[in-house]
């Protein structure tokens, strides 16, 4: 096998490469070979002739100078397709060579011309057809992008073009953009963009479902807001006693509506906020009411100062002096009706917000609800007393049924229902709005920020218009319309962006969906140490044998048996057995306890002192398929064999 170089103007002896199979020396004729379409190869009679058309290359030379990235891609792809063959001499270096690149940039483009190369080699294979770029589909592109960081180390200027959706025509347009190639600014700009989006995500704007929602003249939440606004205004201005229940699924904007309505109320009312989660009994609720009244009015509402069991009984660390002070604020539970009845005597109207209303209905005798609603009912407009409004917030549908009859008859029964947006457009609009958050003003290197913003904006448009993105969003929307889930998805999407792939894409989105919504049961099984994997495999075999619950001894017995079986063959390599590695019992026990701590093994019987720890029964939460994949991924031959061994 011999190679003759007939004519080449490239003088770079240090670029000699050796192919693996033949050892023939090939001079890299050009570190930047032509795109596959420009290579003409003739296969036949044992001679391969490669001709590079000079004219074509010269025509290209000008374009290429400012446009390295778009050239880079076919380069990568052609390497991909070539690297499998051993017999063929590679005209292009198998890896982008740093030296070559330096040489190229240093030499004028006219010196790169090469007329022809004659390679005298017996061709054993049929001529290969190079896949054209357009035939590569989207699924392959992440591979090429994953190789890119190594390229970037040699030359950073290609960064903006490395987005995974290379095939999109829009991308190429931006890839040509010469200013965008100034990659030094990608990193700070990207970081600024990330921060801006995260900040925008903290306070999401309202969803606007204006398009495609013709059957409903007004979104439901706006109607609810209007109604609640009217209700509160009636209480504050006209002195009506009102009660209502705000009902809607999680994340549908119940609290947001309440907060806005309260902010809209003309006169500043006294607001008492209670939550079923923090005030889980009436006593706590009373203390909280007394506190909030004290904070907003400045007067302590104490009913009976001489009551001996006034307060402080569940705070044993308080000494007596403090208890004396506290008593001013904390009335005993028996004074609940008296405390609530003071509400209408205050100078301003009061609004009581009961978050997680359903939990208050679970308090014994529903005393708090009864007192509140009774006071509401007794409010008479124009009686000179202040009014009281009670707003319950809940997501439980049967909340009114939970109320006792005497409570229910005092409740107005007014239920305002909030809802999620009904069409996907609301989401996509939100996604676009959030993702295209403009960067806040930054004085230095403003032109780069502008360049970045224009290219970012264009990429976001491409992202939104992408069919794959739309279908992913539709899938998520079909399952959960919770806006908080969307927020998490966007957050994860933004965090995934790196300098290497600075623009969001469908593959990013699907990755973040699998990380946030469709979480794998146990993602990192493949990274477990050897004893842990052994335990899990033993578990699977134990399950196959019909024993879903197991003790440590059972698993260890299986492991020992397997080790014995695998080391039974008297084969030795370098003086060591080739069987499975032994692992002493305490080490295995350590791995077992780690599993218990991370709740992969769940105890199925009450832990008592009389059972020693190796005989406590556990159940495994790892599924067979997950483990099989993980073991295959570790590439541990013994474990794989054991895993697949029928027992």
């Amino acid at each position: 096998m011999a190679v003759k170089r007939k004519a080449s103007t490239l003088e770079a002896p240090n670029l000699k490469r050796r192919t693996r199979s033949s050892g023939a020396v090939v001079e890299p004729l050009d570190s930047l070979p032509a795109t596959p379409t420009k290579v003409i190869r003739t296969y036949g009679s044992g001679r391969t002739r490669t001709v590079l058309a000079q004219t074509q290359r010269e025509n290209e030379a000008d374009i290429l100078e400012g446009d390295e990235g778009s050239r880079e891609i076919p380069h990568e792809n052609s390497i991909d397709s070539e690297s499998g063959s051993e017999d063929e001499l590679m005209l292009s270096p198998s890896r982008p060579s740093r030296n070559a690149r330096v040489t190229r940039t240093g030499t004028p483009s006219s010196r790169r011309v090469m007329e022809s190369v004659e390679i005298i080699t017996p061709s054993k294979r049929a001529p290969r057809i190079y896949p054209s770029r357009s035939s590569r589909n989207l699924s392959e592109t992440p591979d090429s992008s994953s190789r890119l960081p190594s390229v970037q180390q040699s030359e950073r200027s290609q960064t903006p073009e490395k987005s995974p959706h290379l095939t999109s025509p829009k991308m190429n347009m931006w890839a040509i953009n010469p200013a965008a190639s100034n990659a030094r600014y990608v990193r700070p700009c990207l970081n600024m963009q990330k921060r801006a989006i995260l900040r925008a995500l903290q306070s999401l704007p309202d969803t606007r479902a204006d398009e495609g929602d013709e059957d409903e003249e007004q979104p439901r939440n706006e109607t609810v807001m209007q109604q609640l606004d009217d209700l509160l205004k009636a209480t504050v201005t006209r002195g009506e006693g009102n009660s209502c229940l705000l009902l809607g699924p999680r994340g549908s904007g119940k609290s947001r509506i309440v907060e806005r309505c309260i902010a809209n109320v003309p006169q500043k009312p006294i607001i008492i906020r209670l939550s079923g989660w923090t005030e889980y009994n009436d006593r706590l609720a009373m203390r909280e009411i007394a506190h909030q009244l004290f904070q907003q009015t400045g007067t302590a509402y104490n009913i009976d100062e001489n009551d001996p069991d006034a307060a402080g009984e569940d705070s044993p660390f308080l000494d007596t002096i403090e208890t004396e002070q506290n008593r001013l604020l904390l009335p005993p539970p028996s004074h609940l009706p008296a405390l609530i009845s003071t509400l209408p005597t205050l100078s301003r109207p009061t609004i009581v917000i009961l978050d997680s209303f359903d939990l208050f209905a679970l308090h014994p005798r529903q005393a708090l609800l009864y007192c509140l609603l009774d006071t509401v009912q007794n409010c008479r407009a124009g009686s000179g007393r202040s009014a009281l409004a009670v707003i319950g917030i809940t997501s439980r549908l049967d909340t009114t049924n939970l109320l006792e009859k005497r409570v229910k008859s005092r409740f107005s029964g007014r239920t305002l229902r909030t809802a999620h947006p009904r069409v996907l457009n609301a989401w996509t609009g939100l996604v676009q709005e959030v993702l295209s958050t403009p960067l806040s003003g930054n004085e230095d290197n403003e032109e780069h920020v502008e360049t970045w913003q224009s290219s970012w904006k264009a990429n976001i448009e491409t992202f939104i218009a992408d069919d794959a993105v739309a279908s992913l969003l539709r899938e998520v929307f079909a399952v959960s319309k919770d806006i908080r889930l969307l927020r998490h998805l966007l957050m994860g999407l933004v965090l995934q962006l790196t300098e290497a792939s600075p623009y969001p894409s469908a593959s990013h989105l699907s990755a973040v969906i699998s990380a946030q919504r469709l979480r794998l049961q146990h993602g990192e099984l493949h990274a477990l140490p050897y004893p842990s994997l052994c335990l899990l495999i033993a578990c699977m075999h134990s399950r196959t044998a019909g024993h879903d619950t197991f003790t440590f001894e059972m698993l260890y017995e299986r492991f020992i048996r397997q080790v014995r079986a695998s080391t039974a063959a008297p084969v030795q390599v370098n003086g060591g057995s080739i069987g499975m590695v032994r692992c002493p019992r305490p080490v295995m026990m350590g791995a077992f306890e780690e599993f218990i701590a991370s709740r992969i093994f769940v105890c199925v019987m009450p832990a008592t002192a009389v059972v020693s720890k190796e005989f406590i029964k556990y159940r495994c939460t790892v599924e067979f398929d997950d483990l099989r994949k993980a073991v295959a991924r570790t590439g541990h031959a013994h474990l794989k064999r054991w895993m697949n061994k029928p027992q």
């Binding site: 994340g251 939550s275 965090l495 979480r519 004893p531």
Partner: protein, 487 residues
């Protein structure tokens, strides 16, 4: 210091902390302690940020958590001189903040508003400051059900909205500890990638430099670093398959390194120089065996590093092997009683007058034949000892003693039946006293309450198969023949 393997995680967290989500869940099932350290250093270096780091193991009651969080956020440390008072607002606070969730949230709001009254310059800073509450080992919060849900929605409930963020760090998945009925909002989940071998090696090397800087001593000198790197890579290559926790590896290495460097310096030809390459390789080879043994005894903490270096190993059986003969018989009998099904006792030990010394065991070997589709029975020794009444123990003890002990007193008056003497011996008060003594030593376990009067006491064996075999050898009892299921 940048922790190896945590670059991406640290970048993400730093970006997130600029405007954090109200509830963040970080899951690390492998090395939560290192993650906690990394998070702490990120939070400590964060600008315009106040954070509280509480461990749910240490803070096991709501009150402890409240105090820990509030003191840390207010940057207040209780002093012994003023009665270890917790932080409180300066102007006449009337209540303790740790009594209930409501007062805790008032405390949070007060921390924010307090700075305005104390100082003008500082006020601005804390008004915009981001407050972060990091709760380590968050899976322990499940023991405080009333606290879990409010903590997950703390930003909303305390009306601090975007300026407060709660981070849970745990080795358990969120799905496993999530409160029922969707009471908590789902968090933004960040998974920590497991450390690779290279990360572990780098971690250990960085650790060495840290030790050199913090407390330099003979064995830890920066000039030994090249040798240390070789040593670490050898230890890691041997022990990394068994544990991926760099802290455990560091413990094993710390036990051996002074010896290794001592040997290396002795081998060195020059006084100050490190030994040459062949010597190093020879040394490493000679230490290979001890690397494995060190790991096997130090990783499960069977002994601690100092003892291991001394070559001591605490022998757990030292006390029990010096037991009197009757104690051993009782323990053996208890092992047999716990292992064998009660129905088999007669076949194992039953001796008629005529067939004394003959052993009846079912022929045909093995346990019960397994029918198709039937689940095989797990041997008793794998699922743990079963419990037995005292009477059974005494009966088996009698049979054991009768068969294996030779008595000097052959004939007693009025005792014509063989074995009657033994029966009398084993039901003496002394034997019963021994049994209760063994129960106190936890070599036998009593499964019924001590004050229960009706029925015989029920016991359980607490010695392992290996120990039982050892006793049997000492006493000359053929234990394997007396067990129904063969191992």
């Amino acid at each position: 210091m940048d922790t190896p393997g945590y670059h991406e995680f640290a970048d993400n967290i730093k970006t997130l902390l600029t405007s954090p989500p109200p509830f963040l869940y970080i899951r690390d099932s492998n090395t939560p302690r290192i993650t906690s350290y990394v998070l702490n250093s990120i939070l400590a270096s964060g600008e315009n940020l106040r954070y509280a780091h509480v461990d749910a193991i240490a803070c096991f009651t709501p009150r402890l958590i409240f105090d820990g969080v509030l003191n840390a956020l207010a940057r207040w440390s209780p002093r012994w001189s003023d009665g270890c008072a917790n932080w409180s607002k300066e102007d006449a606070s009337d209540e303790a903040y740790n009594t209930s969730l409501g007062s805790f949230m008032r405390g949070l709001r007060d921390i924010r508003s307090d700075a305005t009254s104390t100082g003008k310059g500082k006020a601005k800073a804390i008004e915009d400051a981001q407050m972060v509450i990091l709760i380590e080992n968050a899976d322990r919060l499940t023991a405080m059900p009333n606290l879990m849900v409010p903590l997950t929605r703390l930003a909303e409930l305390s009306q601090l909205d975007t300026s407060l963020s709660v981070i849970f760090l745990s080795r358990v998945r969120w799905e496993d500890i999530r409160p029922p009925l969707g009471a908590s909002p789902d968090p933004f989940v960040v998974d920590v990638q497991p450390l690779t071998k290279d990360d572990a090696t780098q971690f250990l090397e960085a650790n060495y430099l840290r030790i050199c800087a913090e407390n330099p001593c003979d064995a830890y000198d920066p000039s030994f670093l090249p040798l240390y790197k070789q040593f670490v890579s050898a230890v890691v290559s041997i022990n990394f398959p068994f544990t991926h926790d760099p802290n455990e590896l560091a413990y094993v290495i710390a036990a051996q390194w002074p010896h290794f460097i001592g040997a290396a310096l002795r081998e060195a030809s020059d006084e100050d120089a490190l030994p040459d390459e062949p010597t190093r390789m020879r040394l490493l080879r000679s230490f290979t065996a001890s690397m494995t043994t060190a790991f096997e005894s130090l990783y499960p903490r069977e002994t601690h590093a100092a003892d291991w270096v001394e070559g001591l190993s605490t022998d757990t059986n030292a006390s029990s092997s010096s037991l009197p003969r009757m104690h051993k018989y009782i323990l053996l009998a208890s092992y047999i009683a716990s292992s064998n099904p009660p129905k088999t006792d007669l076949r194992m030990f039953g001796r008629g007058l005529d067939e004394r010394g003959k052993k009846k065991k079912r022929k045909g070997g093995g346990g019960a034949r397994q029918g198709a589709g039937k689940v095989a029975k797990v041997p008793q020794r794998l699922i743990g000892p079963s419990s037995f009444p005292l009477d059974r123990l005494v009966a088996i003890l009698g049979a054991l003693v009768e068969e294996n002990e030779e008595y000097r007193v052959e004939v007693h008056e009025g005792m014509s039946i063989p074995g009657e003497w033994t029966d009398m011996e084993v039901s003496r008060v002394g034997v019963l006293g021994t049994i209760s003594e063994l129960t106190r030593m936890r070599l036998l376990q009593r499964t019924t309450a001590v004050d229960k009067l009706d029925g015989p006491p029920v016991l359980k064996c607490a010695i392992s198969y290996e120990t039982a075999l050892e006793y049997a050898r000492e006493l000359g009892v053929p234990l394997v023949d007396l067990l129904w299921e063969t191992a």
